[in-house]
Subunit: 734 residues, 2 copies
Amino acid sequence: MWGSARSLRRSVGWIAQVLLVFVPGWAEAREDRMVRTPAEYEQALDRSRPGDRIVLANGEWRDFQVLFNAEGEDGRPITLTAQTPGAVILTGQSNLRMAGRHLVVSNLVFRDGWSPTGEVVSFRQNRQNRAVNSRVTGIVIDGFSKPDRSESDNWVAMYGFGNRFDHSHLIGKTNAGTTLVVVRDEEQGLENRHLIDHNWFGPRPPLGSNGGETLRIGTSHDSESSSFTTVTANWFERTNGEVEIISNKSGQNTYRGNVFFEAEGALTLRHGDGAVVEDNVFIGNGRPNTGGIRVINRNNTVRNNYMEGLRGEGFASALTILYGVPNSPLNRYVQVQNAVIENNTLVDVAEVALGEGMDTERSAPPIDSRFARNLIVNRDGSDPVRMTGDLGGIAFEGNVVSAHATILPGAESRTVALSRGRGGLMVPQGVDGIGARRDLAFVGRNAVGVSWYPKDAERAALDSGQTIAVAAEEDALTLAARTAAPGDRLVLAAGDHVVNAVLAVETPLTVEGPSDGEARILFSRPTLFEIGRHGSLKLANLSISGAEAPDAAGNAVVRAGSDAFGYRLELSGVRVSDLTVNRAFDLIAAEPGSLASRIVLSAVTAEGLTGSVLRASAETRDLGTYNAEVVEVTGSTFRRIAGPAIDLYRGGTDESTFGPRLTVSGTTFQGVGQGGAVPAAIRLIGVQRAELTANRFTESGPVRFERRVGAPVLIWRDNQADADPFLFSNVEAQ
Amino acid sequence: MWGSARSLRRSVGWIAQVLLVFVPGWAEAREDRMVRTPAEYEQALDRSRPGDRIVLANGEWRDFQVLFNAEGEDGRPITLTAQTPGAVILTGQSNLRMAGRHLVVSNLVFRDGWSPTGEVVSFRQNRQNRAVNSRVTGIVIDGFSKPDRSESDNWVAMYGFGNRFDHSHLIGKTNAGTTLVVVRDEEQGLENRHLIDHNWFGPRPPLGSNGGETLRIGTSHDSESSSFTTVTANWFERTNGEVEIISNKSGQNTYRGNVFFEAEGALTLRHGDGAVVEDNVFIGNGRPNTGGIRVINRNNTVRNNYMEGLRGEGFASALTILYGVPNSPLNRYVQVQNAVIENNTLVDVAEVALGEGMDTERSAPPIDSRFARNLIVNRDGSDPVRMTGDLGGIAFEGNVVSAHATILPGAESRTVALSRGRGGLMVPQGVDGIGARRDLAFVGRNAVGVSWYPKDAERAALDSGQTIAVAAEEDALTLAARTAAPGDRLVLAAGDHVVNAVLAVETPLTVEGPSDGEARILFSRPTLFEIGRHGSLKLANLSISGAEAPDAAGNAVVRAGSDAFGYRLELSGVRVSDLTVNRAFDLIAAEPGSLASRIVLSAVTAEGLTGSVLRASAETRDLGTYNAEVVEVTGSTFRRIAGPAIDLYRGGTDESTFGPRLTVSGTTFQGVGQGGAVPAAIRLIGVQRAELTANRFTESGPVRFERRVGAPVLIWRDNQADADPFLFSNVEAQ
């Protein structure tokens, strides 16, 4: 069309212009207006008529808050697009608001900045003016996150009705708030009938608190009405923001033919009735917390879905049917009624949780429901089914479970042979009519998102860069760290390395000792390494002394700044001593707001600290936030440590996160955490899973483990202690 | 000299160059090398010989870390200076290090950035290489503070010996660490014999923790040795960083002829013996916490000083003699012995504290000391002298106190007539030989610092800008706030103002309602106003509703971000309601790291909050930091508030700050702070002074007041309560 319109103009010349002005109804007339500045954009917008296109010139558009309000016509939309897909980049404080009807926006990229408002792409201008019958297609939003992780926004907010959001990339949201949300209210009409399809919801790291849903439709408030929105043929790839990947909160929505690839959490039918969840494929590849579908409420149908290799449990099981709250308020859990769960195939999943969540509040069992012709095959012969409470309200019919003894009522227990089908999914032999249909296919990764923007861009990894030798001279390491490229490895010469600056770690950085001799780092600032927004740090085979640190309370060898997010920190073969000049001198200190994805200490010797080896307990507001997702300590020795050697805190009572998780093995605690108001060698408050194996505690405080929410796990195995080893507190938080 | 050397070169041409190279000893030969880039600077430095000057070209030098290492000769220093004083600005990540001997640096400005190391101007290159017999003169360091307030640095660090720092401006340090420090160690020799003179130590706001000294000489570790440093003819103007303006921590230093103008805290003889403090002038002008001289240790002389209008008490009294610790460790308090305190004049001071600080640890009284011929005149007839413990070790001789009945042993009690002398100081009549000498003069403000940089640059104040009308339209206020200039006043039209962005307050901003009708603000983001680094905010005569705020825990109407420092927040005639959508919804929330200089609430009505009216309790690490210096609440009404209406916290046991301070009067608390783990209508932990007058408490939790350090004051007067009104806990912190 564009091509033909241009030819037309070229041949007709000024007459065409006149025609455009005086015969606006002429079907073939269309203007393309290339604009180079926000002012030109405004002018072009003023002149646009149905069928016209505004074309943003290639380049960076910085701090451009686009307001696209116009009135197109059915079949003749007004379009806002890029000169070249992928070559128009909105950066800085930018966003897009749309209002009107029959609008199309396409081929824009949001990157290197964040929206100054609560939305990046919004299908409304303000409360009064929304976009309807409009489409956003081929949009990329890449890491366009507010730097303060606790400050929430929604990247895409769909208002109005009859809108479509498709073929877009949404990657790397790190702050709170949904990636895509459908906002409903009575004024606009509650029947949205939106279409959300062929998008690539790319990796999103765990938020470390509630508010990390990738997709939400509605809120509890209006959840008794129906949205009629369809979510189809999308990929959700490592969308690990929180326990709900999708939070369905309205009636009559359809989730069909989507792929959930290594995604932590579950498609959760949180509020609202009558959802259809079918033909979806969940591939966990054995990664922790990968889940399937969680059923709550009435009249939901879950059929012909395929799950494989999902390791999630509890609320993030492959299939979960929840207990409800009798006469539930809108914001709690409506009893499951009339659920139909049939013909799903589950291969090698960790758990199918039927009757999950039963407690004094959630006391209403599922009723009037059917669980039929599902196929559950674990190739190791285990039975993932876990049943709780009264499940008499579920009719179990014709299910097949591969375990030798299955607890599923009436299920046939037998060995089922599997083979990979053409699409890569497992196809069972000899159980016709059981499990998902044999020709179930799924949308390809290449068919979602846009073709012109990469799906596999990765940050530099630790040790992926150059190796750089650092002489044992004062501030040689300071200079080397300042000029290191992402992934570089600084190898220290034997001898003393005095550092007189805080080394800002803004990209992955490795600092290693020599293969012969010992490198020792001394530092004169309150902090040796400070991890920033995109930093990760590995320290290996070296020694660190706090003897030259300033005489101030609260020093730390490694500090995670308040914007450090999703970072890795590894210490291996590191000897730390003399952190004693003043009180509260830590080896690792996490500031409020920071969140580590993984902290690993192996063969670390820490002796003489007035603080903690790891202090990740800064989030004391009890809003469900915490400072470390996974902590692993092996083969280490901690001696003469005033505080708890490991101090992890997660307050709050929401059930939306998986962390913190801790393993400690083969580690010696001697003279640790004996003083203070609450003596503790290890203090774990609100930690979801702690596994302590083959450790030795002498002359140390106890291990404290306090539940705050959920069903936390403490595994205590083969440890030795010269005193009463641990305290378990099951007190509910206020 | 410069002019003549230039003339010489001009006339002699290349022959002069040759002479310079081959006859370096020639007394008149001198090179001036103008440099325009860091690389040119390096080259010039390499070529510099005794007597030469390197001249930085006018302009901004960004991210320039100057290393000035060279060897001058006595009388023929090597100089680094500016093309034009005040026209060479070092910005960004810049600093200066010097090493060698006979160096001079002059006329540079550090601004708009901060040092990446622990020092801005350092008299050393590294541990091995220091500057000696060198001078820094005419330097300006203006607001060159690290943005993270808790990250400390020293602006000027004097190492070596025989150095001089003079005629410089040091203004507006906001992060931790001394403004100027003398660093001593045995390797360099402990006798520094530095001269610090004619500097203008300009305003420094309270740091809100230990570490805010303006000047420190030495540390406790080496305090038994002598520095022989002289501090003379400097101005300390509103240097309010902490309780010690000067922290003397070495022996045999002299403080002579300095002016302390409206400066909070005291010149403190913290460690080391044999200091002479004479001819200094302290002018308080009645400002709170303005102090004089605090005496600890042995052989200190305090004579001929003049104090007027000082309001400090306790450790910040006009004169304090401290109790000591028997056999004190180096870092505690050595018993006062052989102190000579004579011929000082004190006019209208709040307190003279003799025997201050006596407790179970500090149990050693002053001995072998003399307190003689001092004149203490309070024109209101009051007696500021406060005596504690056993003062038999002080010989009191010939003192005159104006009070009708004085408690000072042997002092003459009489009325003394005063008149202003020529220099502006009060001169007494008829008490010859008593008080400071009559011709005591002090250095003029114009004679300190540099002449080419202003001393009175002030930030824009609230209400100092334009008045801007804002229509009652969605996001009209958003736009107006974004484009407001510092000090502007936004006057809202009557009606609803919906705000869909977090309004960043980076400069002083006023938002007011109309004189007729009511303006109501509704907001859809988790925060309405977020105060940043240089922000202040005033809200007047308007209404704010939280009804449209997002369904998330931890929302706030006003949030002080972690970099908000020294800000003012005033709410007057503001009605706040419906902060209830989720829990922990506050009216004012201070983030960790933030510090308000003053928060004033007058005629505020707050009804229906799930959080607090003011939550300034984020610093839970107990390092002596806190979030609000002064809080004043008058004539307000707080109803149905879940948390404590006012929640202030200051942990830690150091005695280095004056805040937090609170006054609440004429305010009604109804249904406030009844729930939670620890019910409280007002929760004050570690607050130094709280005055509650004529308030009314009904159906509310108690007022909790817990001591953490010092001798906090709680004044409870004319309040009404329908239950046991308050709890006082005197438990020492751990």
